[in-house]
Amino acid sequence: MRWVLYFLLVPQLYLLAGFLREAGAPLLDVGALLCVFLALFAEPRALPGLLLGAAVGRALVDEGSLPIQLLVLGVPIAALLPLRAIFDRQQLWWQIVVAVMLAIAVPRWSYLCGQWFGEPTGSALDTSVIAATGLVGPVVLFVLRKLPPLRAFRERVA
């Protein structure tokens, strides 16, 4: 059930962020936010499925194909995962740093993947999006972590 909810709702987050942008709210980089959740909070065993759902959502708002989106989101997550053992994920400063890093890295990495694989993708760096993702992102993520479907995929700490 948690997977059905995840695949139904999470891709819609990208469109919801766009809708809120049109209504005047700052645009959040939902891809970067989901990367923060996957890299810091998600169950490691569920990562492939969670990554696929996040990539499907990004493919709805970007011209790049689904495998490109898997690489664009998956590689930064794989790079950040080992840092779980070093930094405390509950620290707000660490979440902000990771969110800002990903808000910059995801479009840049997206650009590189697009160049390498001949599939141009959306890769424009927007400072307002980076700022919004860094400052508002962790708060939004805090709320989303408490709600289904992301709540069901949090890593349980013994």
């Binding site: 695949f7 139904l8 891709p11 819609q12 990208y14 469109l15 919801l16 962020a17 766009g18 809708f19 942008r21 049109e22 645009l27 490691p44 065993r45 990562l47 492939p48 990554l51 696929l52 499907v56 959502g57 493919a59 709805l60 708002v61 011209e63 194909s65 689904l66 495998p67 490109i68 898997l70 690489l71 998956g74 590689v75 997550i77 794989a78 995962l81 080992p82 779980r84 053992a85 697009g114 694989f117 599939e119 141009p120 993708t121 959306g122 890769s123």
Partner: protein, 443 residues
């Protein structure tokens, strides 16, 4: 320790990344999976659409009413510049047959496409000689089904043209028209994919003179051979412009390594070519693709220019979405008759376009490039390798962008920014749901 290690380095995630790489290597194998996954993700949007306002057909604007006459004007001027000049060079007994290009494919010399797929079958072109031209330029040679690269093709398949930079194309006797000197005779054939140009010259009649050529830009034209067969390459067809490649020596002299040839037209941008029929068989009328009605709703992606699309039939990838003859964008096909339409202004992908200048004396120009900037009202299009020759204003049409996006669909009004080699395009903003048509069956 092993447990924390597996948490930090999850094999499943690496497997997913490896799968993504395989997916990129074999896109056709995974295409149905991608269509289904994205189609399922779009279903909530479709359900939401049931509760929103019904789509309307947009009121015809002045530009839309002009569309039909503009297409006629494009066809006439394209005929005038693509067909008529060839008649003066080709044998009188041959009749021109203008063919639309569906797509360019297969990387050849210079890293550019080396094959064109036409909108006509081999059967239809059976009465044609194998020469294919555009204006007074030699473009390439028609492939024959069952032979060479077309060994697996059937007569009912779309015909293929082997461009001069195809490895199986014929080498052509040519002359480099050097300034203030006698022409340098040589043979022109396909260059390697890593070479700076698609074609190269070799077997020069005077190698010493060839080694001392310093300036490029000289016209390269075909030479007549002593051959009596009808498909022999006639004299005077343009092949391109010479590009001299080499080093500057310490003593100031140049050391020429090779003389390459840049074709006049960007092969990625070609929308129409001309076949020459000795026995008129093919119908001169152009067949149009099949459209179905589709509902378009703006997709809130935060940037604009994208729409969700719901049709009654399967939407193919790259299908043109059209309203009153005007191309709104290209669709990405999803499962359950859905798609996502991206306008030219919002697209990051390259497009082949046709520029029809307002000045009736200027020829339509085929360009291949991408939108480099957009501000929501206007978009700036930059051609990749061609210089925009037509100054002033004009209209922009689609070029050959695949079998589901035919050439000649109006994209919008455009203004040339010559100094920066840019086209400024007026884009049409779409605010609510509308009814449009989408190509579901190409020619």
């Amino acid at each position: 320790m092993p447990r924390s290690k597996s948490k930090a380095f999850p094999v499943g995630l690496y497997g997913a990344l490896l799968l993504a790489l395989c997916w990129l290597l074999m896109p056709t194998l995974f295409a149905p999976v991608e269509r289904t996954l994205l189609g399922v993700a779009m279903l909530p949007q479709r359900w939401l659409a049931w509760f929103s306002a019904p789509p309307v057909t947009a009121a015809a604007s002045a530009l839309q009413t002009q569309c039909a006459s503009l297409r006629v004007s494009l066809a006439e001027r394209s005929w005038q510049h693509d067909v008529a000049p060839g008649k003066t060079v080709m044998p009188k007994s041959l009749e021109p047959l203008r063919c639309s290009v569906l797509r360019s494919q297969r990387i050849g010399g210079g890293g550019l496409p080396s094959e064109l797929q036409l909108d006509r079958t081999y059967e239809e072109l059976a009465g044609c000689i194998d020469l294919v031209t555009k204006g007074s330029e030699l473009i390439g040679f028609l492939a024959r089904p069952g032979i060479g690269t077309a060994a697996k093709d059937r007569p009912q398949d779309p015909a293929r043209v082997l461009l001069l930079n195809h490895s199986q194309s014929r080498a052509v006797a040519a002359a480099v028209m050097l300034r203030d000197e006698a022409p340098l005779h040589c043979v022109v054939e396909s260059a390697a994919a890593v070479d700076p140009s698609p074609l190269r010259t070799l077997l020069h009649d005077d190698p010493y003179r060839a080694a001392s050529v310093r300036q490029g830009g000289a016209l390269v034209r075909t030479l007549q051979l002593q051959a009596s067969f009808i498909a022999a390459v006639p004299e005077g067809l343009s092949i391109g412009k010479a590009r001299v490649f080499g080093y500057q020596r310490a003593d100031g002299e140049s050391l020429t390594i090779g003389i390459y040839v840049d074709p006049v037209n960007d092969t990625r941008a070609l929308s129409y070519v001309v076949a020459w029929q000795g026995v008129p068989q093919a119908q001169p009328t152009e067949l149009s693709p099949r459209y179905v009605t589709a509902q378009l709703r703006p997709l809130p992606d935060g940037r604009g220019g994208r729409c969700s699309l719901f049709a009654e039939a399967v939407v193919p990838d790259g299908a043109a979405v059209v309203m009153d003859g005007r191309c709104l964008g290209r669709a990405r096909g999803l499962a359950f008759g859905q798609g996502i339409c991206t306008s030219l202004a919002a697209s990051k992908k390259p497009w082949a376009v046709l520029l029809l200048p307002d000045d009736p004396a200027l020829p339509p120009q085929e360009l291949f490039g991408e939108v480099v900037r957009t501000d929501g009202v206007q978009a700036w299009f930059r051609p990749r390798s061609t210089v925009i020759t037509a100054g002033g204003s004009g209209f922009l049409f689609t070029g050959a962008n695949g079998p589901f996006c035919p050439a000649g669909l109006l994209l919008g009004r455009t203004e040339t920014e010559s100094g920066r080699n840019l086209l400024r395009i007026e884009t049409a903003a779409q605010s609510g749901p509308i009814l449009a048509s989408v190509v579901v069956e190409g020619r």
